[in-house]
């Protein structure tokens, strides 16, 4: 359930109204079209041979028996693939850290792909894969990042010369001075263990090469910026030889659907064999070798504060275990720079991000891109300070939260927060959960012998998906734009089509574009069609990452629609022989102000644009179409030499209040009450925003209590199935109440902010704080996620309970 305290402050016709999505009817009727549904004549299937070792030298590979099997077309090994393709793109400047879809000479994690078999069916391909004989010489491995950094540990990439691929020391403001002056200091370690968003659809890709047109067609469950470009580059093809079909429905992603290596492999095979080829990960491949694990991070937090609760300075060291290879994963240490002090007034901050290679599965982008772990560490810090000073946690937050009148507010690391009203959102959430009653409930439960706790978090959601962390962490990368685009067409019948240039994975972009275009043109969104162009047809897009599409695609769609509207008004002015300023635009019809009978209807204007060039004003193109390519608001700048940078344009705010009880017999935590106060500016479709927020909270509950990619001493993933990697069900996720507030962004078209990562950015912190509040009467705490019931049990046992 949800309640709205402030309706959209501006008057909109369609924005903010309850509206069904354009996408849902095809999904509820089984008519979605996912990558695994693409059926091409003569389709061949790939099965993979994966490394059983965390680190080993490949001595030999024998493929003869597999090749001899009927129905088998090809067996590919790393040596052949590496010779014919280029290394996959990496983010940070590590030229000797190369990466191909199949290992050559050396495997660096258990599950790494070693060979690929192509056969008439998946079953036959798997049969043949079992006949591929690989001889390995096991080598020492390392999975702990601190051991990996220590001298003498095995090197994951000996050519790189170190297991560290990124290590920076940012100092923003007078940190040492603030620590010297502060009345108190406190240091502790918080650990965010490896989990991921784990979509129910694994990664799937189908590719087909046409030797006559020299185009590689690709259908994939992808959510990734620069995907066609990087695929083409690795395959040594020009960019215009790869056509990615973005009209494929993606079965969930939340950041992780980045199957570049899958695509390069399948693209190579399709071209090499001149056959359509498909690869669908099975669940174990997805968990072990799908390269979709999230941050795996050790925070050493050091905070300086006064006895009245004023936080003066922070020192944060974050050691992130990226696994055996690194694409964009190290940048997940960069996004938090844009909100490094959270929603608090903290004047001086030191930040030491360290990205470390180990023999674990490679890390990839996960919802929030590193912000959720950082928020968890910040919020544990706030609770620790409150506990130290014996100050109420809410009062401590209220004291340090940036005040409404201070916006726009520039934080020490250089990002300016656009707008907010944090105190009001917190107050509304406290009122919604009836905080005094909640305290009584907790205390009564404690009286009855239960462990019971309340958790609170107040967190930021940077949004607008810019990538200024790229030049910040890799000076050779001068990327300063992450544009997005929309093309709007009105055809001869007067029907409107919006065309976007990327795929969607459940975010409702067709609904977004149609609502925004309908709003501007005053035409019914239900009648507006929205399609996903292929990559050769599309205007530039940087894909739906970083909570960006409401801002960027919404802004681009609005910009294109405004150009259509301007054209319609210009046509009317020309034909009614008046100035544009003398005209009223209503519902697509244009009339002379005060003379309503002097009107040109939508249909008449459309017909002029499409057929009657003699009635068109000079300098206006015939037809009726407009495109708009939008740079991220506040984007375009490089970091300063001391590492200050505006990364994201918009900052949404969320506060979570959670009540948890722990079964004293089994140590099992269960969430009994949950309220989220949320302010992401103007909501274009509140049901979609709420849905993503509920889902983000569920992910956050999973990261806080259940989900963990565990490894044994041999470097083997021991949670490769859904029987040991525990995804919260409808029984673990409680009913959630969302309380909306609206502080519009001054930077965006309608005042909207991004919200795709909402919920996930504050839930883990609040749930962890709730469990720790429950444990507090025993004088113990847990600062390592996930706080599984086993971890609670061990903590209770150690505390003598």
């Amino acid at each position: 359930m949800s309640t709205s305290h402030v309706a959209n402050p501006q008057r909109f016709r369609y924005i903010g109204a309850k509206r069904r999505t354009k996408e849902d009817p095809r999904f509820v009727s089984g008519r979605g079209r996912y990558a695994a549904d693409i059926a091409l004549p003569g389709l061949k299937h790939v099965a993979l041979v994966a490394s059983p070792h965390a680190s080993a030298r490949i001595l030999s590979i024998s493929t003869d028996a597999a090749r001899a099997m009927p129905g088998v077309h090809y067996v590919l090994t790393g040596e052949a693939l590496c010779a014919a393709t280029d290394s996959l793109a990496t983010g940070v400047d590590t030229p000797k850290l190369t990466r191909w879809p199949l290992a050559r000479d050396h495997v660096r994690y258990a599950g790494e792909w070693v060979a690929a078999v192509v056969a008439d069916s998946r079953a036959l391909a798997e049969d043949a894969a079992e006949l591929v004989e690989v001889e390995y010489e096991p080598l020492p491995h390392v999975t702990d990042p601190e051991q990996a950094i220590a001298n003498g540990g095995p090197l994951v990439h000996p050519a790189h010369g170190s297991n560290v691929i990124l290590h920076r020391n940012f100092v923003w403001g007078p940190v040492e001075d603030a620590f010297a002056r502060a009345e108190h200091q406190l240091a502790f370690r918080a650990v965010w263990s490896r989990s991921a968003t784990v979509p129910i659809e694994t990664f799937a890709v189908v590719a087909q090469w046409n030797p006559a047109t020299e185009i590689l067609d690709v259908w994939a469950s992808i959510q990734m910026p620069k995907y066609p470009d990087q695929t083409a580059k690795a395959l040594r093809l020009p960019g215009n030889a790869v056509r990615v079909h973005y009209d494929v429905d993606v079965g969930g992603s939340y950041g992780v659907k980045r199957g570049l290596k899958h695509t390069v492999l399948v693209g190579y095979l399709a071209k090499r064999l001149d056959m359509p080829v498909r690869l669908i990960e099975d669940r174990l491949e997805n968990m072990r070798g799908g390269d979709m694990h999230g941050p795996d991070r050790i925070f050493d937090m050091n905070v300086a504060f006064d006895r009245d609760g004023t936080i003066r300075a922070l020192k944060i060291r974050a050691v992130d275990n990226v696994g055996a290879y690194a694409g964009r994963a190290p940048f997940q240490l960069g996004k938090p720079v844009s909100a490094i002090c959270g929603p608090y007034r903290i004047g001086a901050i030191a930040y030491e991000p360290v990205s470390v290679l180990t023999n674990k599965t490679p890390q990839e982008a996960v919802r929030g891109f590193g912000q959720a772990p950082t928020n968890f560490a910040l919020e544990r810090t706030m609770d620790r300070v409150a506990q130290f000073l014996n100050i109420d946690r809410i009062a401590l937050r209220q004291k340090n939260l940036i005040r409404k009148e201070e916006f726009p507010y520039t934080i020490p690391s250089g990002s300016t927060y656009d707008s907010g009203d944090y105190h009001t959102v917190l107050d509304q959430a406290l009122a919604a959960i009836d905080y005094p009653a909640l305290l009584r409930r907790r205390d009564a439960a404690r009286q009855a012998g239960l462990l019971a706790g309340i958790g609170i978090s107040t967190c930021l959601e940077p949004s607008g998906g810019n990538s200024a962390f790229e030049p910040l962490l890799n000076p050779k990368n001068e990327t300063t734009t992450w544009m997005d685009s929309c093309l709007v067409r009105v055809d001869l019948s007067g029907a409107i089509t919006g065309i976007m240039g990327t795929s969607s994975s459940g975010q409702g972009h067709e609904t977004l574009v149609s609502t925004v275009v309908g709003e501007i043109l005053e035409r019914d969104p239900a009648q507006i069609r929205v399609i996903h162009a292929d990559s050769l047809n599309a205007l530039p897009s940087n894909s739906p990452v970083g909570s960006r599409m409401a801002i960027m695609l919404g802004g681009a769609a609005a910009g294109a629609a405004r150009r259509i509207k301007d054209t319609l008004i210009a046509i009317a002015a020309h034909n009614l022989e008046c100035a544009k300023e003398d005209l009223d635009y209503r519902d697509g019809n244009v009339s002379l102000k005060g003379v309503p009978e002097k009107i040109l209807s939508w249909d008449q204007l459309v017909e002029i644009a499409h057929r009657k060039f003699h009635q068109m004003p000079p300098d206006i193109e015939p037809g009726l179409q407009a495109q708009f390519v939008w740079e991220v608001p506040t984007g375009g700048g490089l970091p300063t030499p001391d590492g200050r940078v505006q990364i994201y344009p918009c900052y949404a705010f969320e506060t979570h209040i959670v009540y948890v009880e722990i079964d004293p017999e089994t140590a099992t935590p269960s969430i009994k009450q949950y309220v989220c106060g949320h302010d992401c500016g103007v909501m274009i479709n509140p049901d979609i925003v709420h849905g993503m927020t509920y889902g983000g909270i569920a992910h956050g509950i999973g990261a806080a209590l259940y989900e963990h990619f565990t490894y044994d001493d041999n470097g083997q993933l021991t949670s490769g199935t859904f029987m040991d990697y525990l995804i919260p069900s409808a029984l673990e996720v409680p009913p959630i109440r969302i309380v909306d507030h609206c502080t519009p962004s001054p930077l965006t078209t309608f005042g909207q902010k991004g919200s795709g990562e909402a919920g996930y950015l504050g839930a883990p912190a609040a749930v962890a704080n709730a469990v720790n509040d429950a444990l507090a009467p025993l004088g113990v705490e847990v600062n390592t996620l996930p706080i599984s019931h086993l971890a609670i049990w061990e903590t209770l046992t150690a505390a003598g309970r």
Partner: protein, 163 residues
Amino acid sequence: MSEALYSIAVEVNGTQRVDRVSARTSLVDWLREYLHLTGTHVGCEHGICGACSVMLDGEPVRSCLMYAVQADGHRIVTVEGLARPDGQLSILQDSFCEAHGLQCGYCTPGMLIAAQALLDTNPRPTDEQIRDAIAGNLCRCTGYQQIVDAIALAAERMAKGAT
């Protein structure tokens, strides 16, 4: 190596389907790859996520854990068979649209099967009963809230005799 094929006859969404399949062809692969009923999705292939749920003689089952030969002589309903005879969305399907009970749509067919099975036996479930009924179907988008809302709405509309 050619595999032995076995004859099966299965009623799928009201139509009798006859085929010859290998013993190891799973029910979900047969539905998707041979009958092209791609509405049923594969999520984990080990019976946990529920994305592949179909009705077998009116009961929800995991089609990834069954072989096609085991369905011989039985009656299967997939998500494609949930719509009304005239092709309009059922009340349940329509309620999922109304209450935003889905995002990416990947778990949705299995979720609809689980919900339909619940409503077939318990037309006025409580929220707790709804959560219990869908606890074997994992969703990563919604946090389940709007799915629960959608199923409750469907039950309410069915009770009112909505068509």
